[in-house]
Amino acid sequence: MVLFRDEKGIPGINFLYLIIGLVILGLMVINIGVNLIWLGVFAEKLKERAINYEIAEAKRGAESIEKFIEVEINDIKKLSQDIATVKDSEFFIERFLKEHPAIKEISIINLDGLEEKRYSRERYFTKKELRDFSFLEEFEKAKKGEVFISKVDFTEKGEPFIKISLPIRKLENEKPQAILRIIFHLRGAWEHVLEMKIGKTGRVSVIDDKGMLIADPQPSRVLKKINLLTLPPTKTLIKGEVFEGAKYFNEKGIEVFGVGAPIKNLRWGVIVEQDAAEVEALAKEVAIFATAFLIATIIVIGLLILLLFTLRRADQDLIKKSLALEKRTQELEEAKASLEIKVKARTKELEELTKSLDEQVKEKTKELQKKLEELEKFHKVAIGRELKMIELKKEIKRLKEELEKLKPRTKTSE
């Protein structure tokens, strides 16, 4: 810490820079940390939400199929009781067929296993078309008082259906009077399930208790009798459990997120698959955003640190220059002081000299005054003499002239 204190022990500018630097670094760490955690959690939540939605849809589909079939089976059970109690069973059967379009055929089988009557809303059966069921499991079970539900089968026209056989009797504990056999077409049950819209790539399919695909938006797949037992959701669904979701490759080799919900009573299952790319698209977008955000944060913080260093360097230059200036100023002041002393001395000398000169001037002036006075006196004297001289000269000249005038007359006389 000594490094960050000046000579007097007070924290200096470097200390300030250290604090600012630490604050920036701290903010950067917090920023990155928070964003990574938040965005990471957010991305995970998005994925989770997509999977939960798939599960909800699978459950909805399963419940819908279960309910549809349950309602139909209950109605069939009621019909079996009605037939046992009324004389004109044909009336009930015809009305039942009209009200239940999914029920395509109803047969009355006697306890020997022979079909006595065969009803259909759209088909006419001749007596030749009545069959013997005595050797079939469905008849045996129904005769024992059980409700037999077959596995899903397909008509020659590719229509999925199940066969339901049950005893005709007034009460549960009674001996069956005959057997009621129903052909139940399943397309009605599938339709709204298969039309479910789950994203762009979501697909709902139904499997039976053996893992066979029994309903799919692409019916040709069903007709190919594909077994989906190898798919992760299938085994869980057969056990009657919800498959919570996993990423796997479907039979087409596409990576998908699959979930599943069981149709418990029938041990069938509804599988919802959605391309993994679509499920993860939003999460990926968030991850890209988070990465970009982090890069931008690092750049900004890097720039701030660079700015800090630049400022520090600029500050150091300034300090150096300031010190040099201070030194020069000091030197200048010293030089000024020395100069001032010298000037003062010189001034004093000059003053003294001036004083001496003044005195000398005064003396000389005095002397000159005296001499002048003398001169003036002399002048006066001299001028007087001169004037006398001039006058004398003038007298002399006059006298000479007068003399001259006298001389020439004498000569002429000769």
Partner: protein
């Protein structure tokens, strides 16, 4: 130097912040929905009696989220029984390159199959009695081409219709049927009726015809007591002729007339038993939806009708002096009183 650096740094920071804001906005603001694709569907039908099938198709499409004028538009052509017009309309629709063509009845399907050959335009047909026998598809499970759709099962239900006629009036002994041997629906249906007739206990008088007027001419000559009932096997031309002349003639002869659709029954035919046109249209819409979602027509098996429709016209029954048994009435989906 520091001043210039500061300015440069300032600009960089502003740019980063600005681009960050832009990106954040882009991320936060809900992306505008992708430009809604407007599907173009061609609709072709042979004649008006099957209008309800087209109506059902449109209803089905709407139930599936295709709103007319919003994300779907239709180009509709009705040949009104004119085979030449039918071919012309088929060519015209194909030239418009729609996303899908919905067509009903066998003649219209035949025309559209020919017109779409090599174009790859998917076709959903409806009201086709036997698409395999008609040569429209390779098999019920897979067409093997650009066609798929719903069958009206008219051939399958033909014996049942005869049986119902007998139930309506057990006294019926002789039933008159007109048919075109070459018709892909009426021809085979007549065969089935003829096969089932002895078991039902009736004699069928099957009259082959080649044009609509043959029916009129036959009916004009028909005298009371010569036949006990008239039935349309499932031929579009026969249906059209019987609707035009047969309903009145049956009333005149006081014999039951068994037709196929609700419309004919409403017009005065005693009974009709056939597919529910509206429901079959809706069922076809489900197939169209699968195709628009990217499934190839050859991957979608041909579907049989989910619902059949039975109607009785009690006014006509009264007019011909017939009392309809209660059991028969209980089977009816519609009783016109």
């Amino acid at each position: 130097m520091p001043k210039k650096l500061l300015i440069a740094l300032g600009i960089i920071i502003i740019m980063i912040i600005f681009s960050g804001i832009v990106w954040w906005q882009k991320f936060l603001i809900k992306k505008p929905a992708e430009k809604l694709k407007i599907y173009h569907i061609g609709l072709l039908q042979m004649s008006s009696p099957v209008n309800e099938n087209i109506k059902g198709f449109k209803m089905g499409m709407e139930e599936l989220g295709y709103k007319e004028g919003v994300n779907i538009r239709y180009t509709y052509r009705n040949a009104e029984g004119d085979l030449k017009k039918l071919e012309q309309y088929a060519q015209e629709l194909v030239s418009l390159k729609p996303d899908l063509i919905f067509v009903n009845t066998s003649p219209a399907t035949a025309a559209i199959k020919k017109a779409t050959e090599g174009t790859g335009i998917p076709v959903v047909f409806s009201m086709v009695a036997d698409p395999v026998r008609a040569g429209f598809v390779a098999s019920i499970k897979s067409s093997g081409n650009n066609l798929t759709g719903t069958s009206c099962a008219y051939i399958d239900i033909a014996p049942k219709r005869l049986a119902l006629l007998k139930e309506i009036n057990p006294a019926i002994k002789k039933v008159l049927i007109f048919y075109r041997p070459e018709d892909l629906s009426g021809g085979p249906a007549t065969e089935e009726i003829l096969k089932a007739a002895p078991g039902i206990g009736v004699e069928v008088v099957a009259v082959p015809i080649s044009k609509k007027e043959d029916i009129k001419n036959y009916l004009d000559k028909l005298k009371p007591g010569e036949i006990d009932a008239i039935m349309d096997p499932a031929d579009a031309m026969v249906n059209s002729a019987l609707t035009e002349w047969g309903i009145e003639k049956a009333k005149e002869l006081k014999v039951p007339l068994m037709m196929l659709g609700r419309l004919e029954c409403e017009k005065g035919a005693l009974a009709c038993f056939g597919v529910d046109y509206v429901d079959l249209g809706k069922q076809s819409a489900l197939i169209a939806n699968q195709i628009l979602r990217g499934i190839a027509p050859s991957d979608i098996p041909i579907e049989m009708p989910r619902k059949f429709f039975f109607a009785i016209n009690l006014k006509t029954a009264k007019a011909i002096g017939l009392e309809i048994p209660e059991r028969v009435l209980s089977k009816a989906d519609l009783i016109i009183e």
